[in-house]
Amino acid sequence: MELYKDILELYIHIPFCVKKCDYCDFLSGTYDADIRKAYTEALCREIKWNGIRLGDKLVTSIYIGGGTPSWLEVEYMANIMDAVHKYFHVDSQAEVTIEVNPGTVSSEHFNVYRSVGINRISIGLQSANDDELKLLGRIHTYDRFLHTYEFARVAGFDDVSVDIMTGLPGQTPAKLLHTIHQVVRLQPEHISAYSLIIEKGTPFYDRYKFDAVKQHAGMETEALPNEDQEYELYKTTQMELASHGYEQYEISNYAKKGHVCQHNIGYWKRVPYLGMGIGAASLMNETRFSNERDIHDYIEHAKELVMENFRQESPMRVDVQELSRQSAMEEYMFLGLRMNAGVSRSEFRQAFGLEIDGVYGTVIQKLRNEGLLEAAEGRIYLNDRGMDLANYAMAQFLQ
């Protein structure tokens, strides 16, 4: 895609956790100290290997996710960021985010983060109700979160995001409102509000699988909110955050003016990104690929990286999938429509050399007739109802 050919986003995966949360299906786990050390070394090698090959690209954002990146020894994190700055060309304005979990950080961490160029903090709170935190298998209380938040502010971070969760078992609108009020009181710049999804292979799945199966069959359950309750919770979130000055810019994301997450916007606009660390996904040259998921294999393969051999293929790369123009366009639509701003006709033309109406005119018209999609000022976007039924709307763009 011509549109973003000179820029690049970086994602860095830190798979370590104090304890895995009960709903989590991310690639993470508890590993002991020597693995953390070996992993950091492997990651730095991978950063170097990639950096010297992609030095001509301008890195516009970096996101350090996990796992719990804040649980990694802070000096290791400094090593990682040093490697990034040494081998990549990072824009001075680049947004650099690290995910932080309450209960894993001291004020010292934040000072180091600032010193290595991290300028945005994303804190996983999930709920301000301790009973819900316990239910989720989180290691912290609301009180611990408050301390963490304060540490970040004291260290000078002026771009902080807080994650909350909706659709928890037994969650009432009142409980959700309590969480929202506790959060907006702190005035973070950004709030992500996710619906809980019960994923296979998690303790939550085992705990609620019968409910999940029932719900899949369209039946009511006691524990998990049904479609109507979930809808209420979603609307509550939207309205309450809007009334406190948070503008929704994507299905699950809200921000004060000027504080949208650039990195994530990049995913939805299909800016090329390179993921490093185990399991990390990438989109480069209209090809999606991932790193292998086994940490021991990864550490071994990192040793095989030959810096000088520019013809070497990454030994840790798996699931390589070249995208046809058709697939790329489909992605562009279903990702772009996640954003309230939707997709721009002119950007679509720039990206694919085709008119959006020539490709998707029928679908666009259908969704407009169904009252889900609107068009104005050179953009098409989902309206409120379209956002609620985004799956349905997006699926229409797939072949």
């Binding site: 994602y11 992500s192 996710y194 619906s195 809980l196 999804i197 069959a217 369209g218 039946m219 479609e227 109507d228 979930e230 809808y231 979603y234 299905i251 699950s252 994530n264 995913y267 939805w268 990104y273 993921g275 399991g279 990390a280 996904a281 990438s282 989109l283 999606r288 991932s290 699931d319 999938q321 489909e330 992605e331 279903f334 990702l335 996640r338 169904e370 009252g371 889900l372 956002m387 609620d388 039924l389 985004a390 799956n391 349905y392 997006m394 699926a395 229409q396 797939l398």
Partner: protein, 603 residues
């Protein structure tokens, strides 16, 4: 080489389901040395995969065994395995007609059951000698003495020295072999008389054409003979005759009076060789056909549609192939507004339907949508004409109908006394007319009812089992037609009638059925962008209604770099799921919904 008739025994094994018929057959095959234990795959005679899995026999099978008896002589046993299920009753009765005797297997713990009785009566009707055998004596709950008394009291058969065996372990199976010689008669018949051979089954072989299974009653059948099928009138030149090995056909010179075997004659279609028909010679015909031939008519009809409309020709081919082996299967093309092109198929009963459907899915890899099964109703019109209705959608306008009739069956249910009340309640609910009840012994009774067939084709058997905790057994026989108050129940989805969901129902149960259908469909139809009313109607009158609420939220919570491929797959799956749905008006109905109406009484 002429075979000495006195050294031949033709017999079958009859039993209630699960009493061990096929297992005993296996032991007999093994003990006579036809196959070594190692060559045996359990239950040799059930050679369809489906038969083995379900433990049922669908097609008749036959095998010739050579037995070296204790008297030093060598005997030929022709063992004919028969289907045990009431759906295949006609085939059973033809198989019995090929035999001179029957081994009656009774479970030492369960005793006589409904099908035991039905089968014994059928055997006695055919003048067969019946040799009782008590099976499963190794079970802790076995009570052979009680069962012997039961056989003597209820059936009136001498059973004091009945072999007490375990077909599973092989215990006392030798006694069965010896008693076959002692107690079952040798065949009779004159090898020089005009040929008279009964067709008791047939199967289609792509290379040899139809293989006709027959029992020669009189005369001799050999390769080169010109033969005529007396009922169909078709004539053929015999290519080969032979007898049955274990799962194979062994050619021989001739089949003489008293023998059981097969013949081939380059026959293209099993329809020309109807079960029950008599084979005779063209040049020297016998005076009259053997008794008992009748054309079997399907009792149950349903629509079969390919889930993927493009597979319609494949479904037709598959049905044609199955029909080659199964003359009772009938089908003709039909069109449904909801389901597109498919076939209205006729079956002997629900098990037959089930078996065909499963074979289509397994052997021909077809994904099917089945409409609710229906019996054949007789519609007497005001103009004096009568139509046989197999598809509810074709019911004439009520103003043209004088009256309607529905098929009824004679049902026999055997049950232990504590469940008599529950079973009688069930029969009452199903519009049964009580006929009689007699106690077989203190704790068990045989209840007779006349029941409408359409009340038993759905789930009667399951209801019977659940209400008697598995202790009731059931058998039925077609009785005739009875006038009845019947109406057509239509289902409207988003105000459009869905033809594939219409069915005929007894007037007084229409409301209840309609309500259940609506409830069921409400769970099956996914939410759409708009609200969908689901209504049940008789004529223009709406008798039940449910609503599928409009979709409100279905978003994917988050979607970042690592999620994109997975989320795309999810969306594709959602889209794919839609493709598998049936569009009626602007509503998409999952295929399962059409089948869910079969399971209305689950709760």
């Amino acid at each position: 080489m002429a075979i000495d008739q006195s050294k031949v025994r033709n017999f079958c094994i009859i039993a209630h389901i699960d009493h061990g018929k096929s297992t005993l057959a296996d032991r007999l095959i093994e003990k006579t040395g036809l196959l070594t234990e190692r060559e045996m795959q359990a239950q040799v005679l059930d050679n369809m995969e489906l038969e083995r899995e379900r433990g049922i026999t669908i097609k008749s099978q036959a095998v010739r065994l050579i037995y070296h008896a204790n008297d030093g002589q060598e005997y030929i046993f022709n063992l004919i395995d028969t289907p045990g299920h009431v759906d295949f009753n006609y085939e059973v009765s033809r198989s019995l007609a090929a035999c001179d005797g029957a081994i009656l297997v009774v479970d030492a713990a369960q005793g006589i059951e409904a099908q035991t009785l039905a089968n014994v009566y059928l055997a006695l009707d055919h003048d067969l000698e019946v040799l009782p055998v008590i099976n499963k004596v190794d079970l802790p709950s076995a009570d052979p003495q009680r069962v012997i008394a039961e056989i003597e009291d209820v059936i009136g058969l001498e059973a004091e020295d009945a072999p007490q065996i375990s077909a599973k372990t092989g215990l006392n199976v030798e006694q069965v072999l010896e008693q076959i010689i002692e107690k079952l008669p040798a065949p009779s018949g004159d090898p020089k008389a005009p040929l008279q051979a009964l067709i008791f089954d047939s199967l289609y072989d792509p290379y040899r054409g139809v293989i006709v299974f027959c029992r020669v009653k009189e005369g001799t059948l050999k390769a080169g003979d010109s033969v005529r099928m007396m009922a169909t009138g078709a004539t053929f030149d015999v290519v080969e005759v032979g007898y049955f090995g274990a799962g194979q056909f062994i050619a021989c010179d001739e089949l003489q009076a008293g023998m059981v075997g097969y013949m081939t004659a380059s026959i293209k279609n099993v329809k020309d060789t109807r079960v029950g028909d008599t084979i005779t010679l063209v040049k020297n015909p016998c005076a009259e056909a053997l008794p008992g031939y009748k054309k079997v008519n399907p009792m149950v009809y349903c629509g079969l549609y390919p889930a993927d409309g493009a597979k319609y020709p494949d479904l037709r081919d598959a049905l044609e192939k199955l029909q080659l082996n199964d003359a009772a299967l009938q089908f003709e093309p039909e069109t449904s507004i909801a389901l597109g092109f498919g076939f209205r198929c006729g079956f002997l009963g629900l098990l037959h339907l089930d078996v065909i459907q499963e074979r289509l899915e397994r052997e021909y890899n077809l994904d099917l949508v089945t409409t609710a099964p229906s019996v054949v109703y007789r519609v007497h019109k005001t103009d004096g004409s009568m139509i046989e209705l197999t598809n509810p959608s074709n019911l004439p306008d009520p103003s043209e109908i004088d009256y309607m009739e529905e098929p009824v069956v004679d049902a026999e249910i055997m049950v232990t006394s504590e469940y008599i009340g529950a079973i009688m309640d069930l029969c009452q609910e199903r519009r049964g007319v009580y006929v009689s009840m007699e106690y077989m012994e203190e704790t068990r009774a045989l209840i007779k009812y006349v029941l409408p067939l359409n009340e038993i084709i759905y789930d009667f058997f399951d209801a019977l089992k659940s209400r008697s905790r598995g202790y009731a057994s059931f058998d039925y026989e077609f009785k005739g037609y009875m006038q009845s108050e019947l109406v057509k129940l239509d289902i409207l989805i988003n105000r459009e009638t869905v033809d594939a969901l219409s069915f005929i129902v007894f007037k007084d149960t229409a409301y209840e059925r309609g309500r259940k259908m609506c409830e069921k469909l409400k769970d099956e139809i996914p939410r759409h962008l708009f609200e969908i009313p689901i209504q049940a109607a008789v004529g223009s009158k709406i008798i039940a209604r449910e609503t599928v609420k409009a979709m409100r939220k279905d978003v994917l919570a988050k979607c970042y770099g690592g999620d994109i491929s997975r989320k795309k797959k999810l969306l594709e799956k959602q889209k794919e799921g839609k493709k598998r749905m049936r569009q009626v008006g602007n509503v998409e109905i999952p295929q399962e919904a059409f089948m869910s109406v079969l399971k209305l009484d689950e709760d």
